[in-house]
Assembly symmetry: C2
Homo-oligomer: 695 residues x 2
């Protein structure tokens, strides 16, 4: 049965081909008028310039870590660290980078084309934007399959390692590179996009009273660049990391559970099935010309739900043939259903068609303060459902997969539930990545003065994108909680196999409790760093935009062009400067805690960061989404509509929500996995040198 | 040595006498002019009326719980629950209620007197307000000593129980009643005070542009009533619960650690020493007439630090004589020093004499959104120091008290560190409780038209109160984290002693992980409930104040009196309606989790709620304090001063911070202990009936 691993390559090939076809389809379209081409080129330029500088910075950090890993691996003759680790680390990083980069390339090529297509019909606009999203979605899963299968074959056949536990443990370290790259991309991109967005809104909308994406606003190009480097490149790297991380963690647990290589084959085949089902689903995404927002959403949902149901059906015989265990199939179902449920409730809390966001909009009647309090309490409250779903998924998948008899078999169930949740990532990511393209298309339509009906169509597409983006974040964080638990157990297993002493992992152990506290601290401080980074970068944009309005005469009368490039470069500088500290936190804190508290403290830290990171991520994403849509709800004419006191209050809410939902919140799911993989990679070091040994 | 327990009564007597002397001193002062008397009477009336209704509601809930406990205890012949528990529960509740009630009585009697004294001199104002605070401080510690010593003598001599573990385990249940009462008082009072405050500010200050405490504002009396029922009665009950909880948890751990009754004697004697040192310290609190804010703060600090140093000195021989273990003395020092350090850093993050709050004030330059983002990130960042201090205190006190050899001896160290932290509560609470009195005095001065210099003096006293209040909250939450860990271990010990099966408390156990998630959820949802309660109640006040301004002609011209009573009654209704749900959460969630997940899940829940509750409490208190002081910093003339755009932005921040720092934040320290004691009380039930047994 082991020969079936080549199917991983086939999956990668299929995904790659489909992505290529979609990209070709997009590229045959026209980019529209000269003005549209010019604007699209500026956005492309800004995004390329930013990514180039980001990759340069990240390259340096990666080089340092790579050298440290090399020394650890080769100086100790592979005792403290496997010799494959430094290379697995780099591969993970490069693939994660590629996932984001390709997504960004296609997105910046599709934005003007989407605007042009939308000027012909709504359905054409949807198809182009969705095709662009599909390129990203299938690139991510294709690269993931390639990375995983390649390493598997290298380890198994080029190096001849026959012990599944060893293979699993080496491969899981690949995840550290992917997570590290993803964290830079999410945090850097997140700071960039929100600094530009907040800066543009605060001066343009609030002070000068000009509309969103108005060409007179000096920060408007930076804002559109931000959509691409944050919401596209950042998200691509992020979900690459989630996808690969969930599969690799399950590889490692499969080996520990005694399933041997079959335990690894199952998640791989499941992923390939997911790719094919996602392709089928994506053919179902289309709409009629008189589409309402509901029917647009319905067409996207038809695609994703069909893919999920198909995957669920095929997974049954597959699981039975590979493992002969129906319980594991139930675990996969838990993941699929849990993911959809989290997605649904995310929508419930953040969409203005439901009560919570409508009530939040009503809180604007008594001013900015009450809508802020209301949004924070909505976000905090919304953690309940997500946590209950994850709790149910964990327990069900654990016990159904046989956790009652064999602890490790149960844990494999938790891991495979995470893989199930992300198996149809190809299409869920496509629906998610289409949002920023539609958003950019709207910006280009506005800036190049296309007729109002075009802007209305792109707005319809964009507003839907907010909902799918929230759902996508729900999947990312939901799967992260399962993967993080799986990685936590891998860590314990690796440490325990390298020491004679039996670790006391009891919660009442003070080292464990202190670890839990430090984990919570890491979540809180990381969120603080990313939020204040946005605030600082945004303040510099505010100052610059105000300066331009003041010192360049004729901007307001369309007689002079603002200096777009200065805002683009300020955002780039701000993001690069501020992204390093939070990313390093995720590496330094686990290692330092380990050196002081020993491995038990690290287990506590991983538990603490997983639990609080999950809760904070849900809180921040949902509060931010609800504020955004409450503002849109008011703009649609409720509570006095645009320009009213309520609208002003809602804009404050939306601005506070920006870093919540697009910087701090979505970075947390990467943080919790990066902490785990860092701990795994440095487990040898920590086991050898730690203060607690001296006591 | 056991005879020395009578010293507990002596301590209660000394504290009571001192409180009585201070009360007498306050009452000899005049209440000032007729108008002042009238206003003071209205505040007193409102506060009495609210507390009466609050106690009625709480009485009903207590009755239900009491009956349930009675049935559990007597129907099972004491097997599932000790027969003493229902009565211990009620006593704890009554004493906690009394602590808050007496504090409120003296505070409402002192406010006009303080205003009158301040009209004579600043020093006299300080002395009266501080004496009033002292009555509260020493009432709390005196009642605590009485409660604890009484129960000890009943169990030991009236009932003849000679096993220290049994005595410890029964006494710890007393804490459940105290915590439950305290939660109602904190949450109910917190909702009341912030609904009134937010409502009064939003319409009065922001919309109508009249100053704080202006007699034309219909919500102004309600606002002043709120200070008494929330910041005084709520805080009194809260700190009673913290004080008694820390001592009782240590009683229980002392017995488990094998120290026998001597392990209980030490915390008791330490508390008595703390009372005497606090009395000595409080004689040192005085100031000169030309006092600046720094010299006022210095005079309060001289008192508290002297008391702490004296207590530290006396504790050394005491610990050695009672236990013969120097390590335990170091644990006590850890508590004392840790408490002072948390207090200091709380001040650093929230006082406008330091950089963080000054930078926060600067964030108002770019509007309300950036000051909100800045405050949230400041609060999140500030958790770092507090968590590191608690982590260091936990590890040091554990290992110094002998945790390396005997696990339980180490845990006793953690418990006694909590007692050390609160040993000088008499004086720290006095400095804390003096704040609301000074605040009310300022309100009365404003409403009764006393000369500006009087208002300036009361403002100086009040602004200092903000700092001491933040420090007080630091002590409450710092000690709560230590007490919660001690209670967690007591729970495990009680459960383990009642079952044959060895509990798998490993963090990798999925039941434990799910418990952790549920604990985090409880913290988040509880915070959401309390915040939205304030928001709802405040919105009703806003509507009412707007209605009065509109429909009562002549209010603005001082020709007609507003209807104060309607705001008072709206606040009362709102607080009573909204306080029950969050308080029940704290009881229902642990029991329900236990019935589903079994005792292991409960341990996880207690760990989760302790860690996230601590981090959230620090975050919320510090963010709220910093917003408040950033506003005051701007009002002092920075960034454009009063009425500027920056000031408006800062008022939004302050309003968001109100429920953070006075409702949700300070309730969390009670929540985490109530969860523990509820779990202990219902441990028999959960052990007998839980779903996991069926698997």
């Amino acid at each position: 049965m082991e020969n079936l691993f080549w199917i991983g390559f086939a999956g990668a090939l299929i995904a790659g081909l489909f992505a290529w076809m979609q990209a070709k389809k997009v590229m045959t379209y026209s980019e529209g008028t000269d003005r549209m081409k010019k604007i699209a080129a500026s956005i492309r330029e800004g995004a390329n310039a930013y990514l180039k500088q980001q990759y340069t910075t990240v390259f340096k950090v990666f080089l340092v870590v790579f050298v440290i890993l090399l020394i650890m691996a080769f100086a100790t003759g592979g005792k403290m660290l496997s010799k494959f680790t430094p290379f697995a680390f780099v591969t993970g990083g490069v693939f994660s980078m590629l996932a984001g980069f390709i997504g960004m390339k296609i997105a910046t090529a599709s934005n003007a084309r989407t605007a042009q297509a939308a000027s012909e019909s709504l359905n054409k606009g949807l198809r182009i934007a969705f095709s662009s999203g599909s390129v990203m979605g299938f690139t991510v899963v294709g690269l993931g399959m390639l990375d995983i299968t390649m390493w598997y074959f290298i380890l198994r056949y080029a190096c001849g390692i026959s012990d599944p536990v060893t293979v699993g443990n080496i491969m899981v370290m690949n995840g550290m590179g992917a997570s590290f790259m993803a964290l830079f991309a999410r945090v850097g991109g997140g700071i960039y996009t929100k600094a530009a967005d907040v800066g543009a809104d605060l001066v343009g909308k609030v002070e000068a009273g000009i509309p969103e994406d108005d060409p007179r606003n000096p920060a408007t190009i930076a804002d559109n660049v931000g959509d691409n480097v944050g919401d596209v490149a950042g998200m691509g790297a992020d979900l690459y990391e989630s996808y690969v991380g969930s599969i690799l963690a399950t590889f490692s647990l499969g080996a520990i559970a005694g399933y041997g290589f079959r335990g690894m084959l199952l998640p791989l085949l499941l992923a390939v099935v997911g790719i094919i089902c996602s392709i089928i689903g994506s053919f179902l995404v289309k709409t009629k010309e008189d589409a309402t927002q509901e029917s647009l959403l319905k067409s996207l949902r038809t695609g994703t739900y069909t893919a999920a149901v198909l995957a669920a059906v095929v997974a049954a015989p597959l699981t039975y043939v590979v493992l002969g265990n129906w319980g594991v199939y139930i675990a996969i179902l838990c993941g699929l259903v849990g993911g959809c449920a989290i997605g649904y409730f995310t929508e419930y809390y953040t969409s203005d068609t439901y009560k919570p966001t409508q009530e939040l909009a009503a809180a604007s009647e008594t001013g900015a303060a009450t809508i802020i309090i209301g949004g924070i309490s909505l976000g905090l409250k919304s953690t309940m459902v997500s946590i209950l779903i994850v709790a149910a998924a964990v327990l069900l998948s654990f016990f159904c997969a046989g956790g009652g008899e064999s602890f490790n078999m149960g844990l494999y169930g938790i891991g495979i539930a995470g893989v199930g949740m992300l198996s149809t990532l190809g299409i869920t990511l496509a629906t998610d990545a289409y949002g920023p393209v539609a958003d950019n298309a709207g910006g280009i339509a506005e800036m190049s003065g296309l007729p109002d009906e075009v802007r209305e169509r792109t707005d319809a597409l964009d507003s839907l994108g907010n909902t799918t983006a929230a759902t996508g974040k729900g999947f990312a964080i939901g799967s992260a909680s399962l993967t993080a638990l799986a990685l936590l157990v891998s860590y314990v297993d690796i440490v325990q196999s390298n020491t004679e002493e039996v670790l006391d992992l009891s919660l009442t152990n003070p080292l464990m409790l202190v670890g839990l506290f430090v984990g919570a601290m890491l979540t809180f401080v990381f969120s603080a760093f990313t939020m204040s980074a946005v605030q600082k970068a945004a303040q510099s944009i505010v100052v610059e935009v105000r300066r331009q309005f003041r010192s360049i005469p004729g901007i307001m009368e369309y007689q002079a062009d603002p200096d777009y490039a200065s805002c683009v470069s300020l955002c780039t500088k701000g993001a690069l400067k501020e992204m390093v500290a939070p990313a390093l936190l995720a590496i330094v804190v686990p290692i330092l805690s380990g050196l002081i508290l020993g491995p038990i403290g690290v287990v506590g830290l991983l538990g603490g960061v997983s639990v609080t990171g999950f809760a904070m991520a849900v809180f921040m994403s949902n509060a931010g989404g609800a504020w955004d849509n409450a503002k849109k709800y008011i703009e649609a004419g409720h509570h006095g509509g645009k320009g009213s006191g309520c609208h002003k209050a809602a804009v404050v809410g939306d601005t506070v929500g920006d870093p919540f939902k697009d910087t701090s919140g979505p970075s947390l799911n990467i943080l919790i996995k990066l902490c785990s993989t860092v701990s795994i990679v440095f487990s040898g070091l920590i086991l050898t040198f730690n203060l607690m040994q001296l006591l």
